[in-house]
């Protein structure tokens, strides 16, 4: 069992990435490689659809941490959607992402980002 990485649509600066299979000591390097050009491309945030990810270990969590660190510099986030029980358990134990950045659907994650962006834009207007 391996990891399949599907790079999906990008809208409003958020890149959708779908992970299928296992994110572990064997496959985390594939994710790092796939995310590197995305993280270098001034993307604001990432949305990870994990509906078909059925196993993660600390090696996989480290890859997600690296992405979170890379995006945090400009206020970007890694939002995760549709966690299977094993993924949810591991995320709970290591607090892999803040609870309010875990979503039950990709649409909810997108809506959260839209609201975040609107807040940023409005904030800039108020400051002017």
């Amino acid at each position: 069992m391996n990891l399949t990485i599907q790079v999906g649509k990008r809208q409003a600066g958020a890149q959708l990435v779908t992970l299928i299979g296992r994110l572990d000591t064997h496959t985390h390097g594939d994710l790092d490689t796939a995310l590197a050009p995305i993280l270098a491309s001034r993307v604001h945030s990432l949305v990870l659809d994990l509906a078909e990810l059925n196993y993660i270990s600390s090696a996989g969590v480290r890859s997600i941490f690296k992405a979170r660190k890379a995006l945090a510099g400009h206020g970007g986030k890694v939002l995760v959607a549709r966690l299977q029980p094993q993924i949810q358990k591991v995320f709970d134990v290591v607090k892999a992402v803040p609870l309010d950045e875990i979503f039950t659907s990709v649409d909810e994650a997108d809506a959260y980002l839209d609201a975040l962006q609107r807040k940023v834009v409005e904030g800039e207007v108020e400051e002017d």
């Binding site: 572990d24 000591t25 064997h26 196993y55 270990s57 600390s58 090696a59 969590v61 480290r62 941490f65 690296k66 979170r68 660190k69 945090a72 510099g73 029980p85 094993q86 591991v90 134990v93 290591v94 607090k95």
Partner: protein, 142 residues
Amino acid sequence: MQMRLVMPDDRTRLRELDNGLVTALSAGGVAFDVIADVLLIAEEIVCNAIDHGFSEHRPHEIIVSVEQRAEQVAIEFRDDGIAFNPLDRPAPNLDADIGDRPIGGLGVHLVRELADEVSYARDATHNVLRVVLHKSTQEPLE
């Protein structure tokens, strides 16, 4: 069940270990999600042993033994790497801001949290890590 894995410096044989554990634990009536926890624990322990204990340029071995009792399953990981006690590692700060959070230390934290008991001993030339889990997911009645 006992499996002896001779490890050069790669992790490819972890999958054989996974298969062996699934077969042995399913036959022993261990709950599905407990088996999932065991596979995660096995990956974390074996990777830690390879990363921290297998520094010399020779093949190493990890012997994994599974002992099943009525309510519990005990798994022993015995490797011939340099002395390394992963339990010495301080718990990671899970509440730090992402910018300040170290990316290491999560594997051992997962092992501690998922296992009911975990202990380390140095037995002459071997590291011995022993992990115990309840076979069912329900907490035993007190």
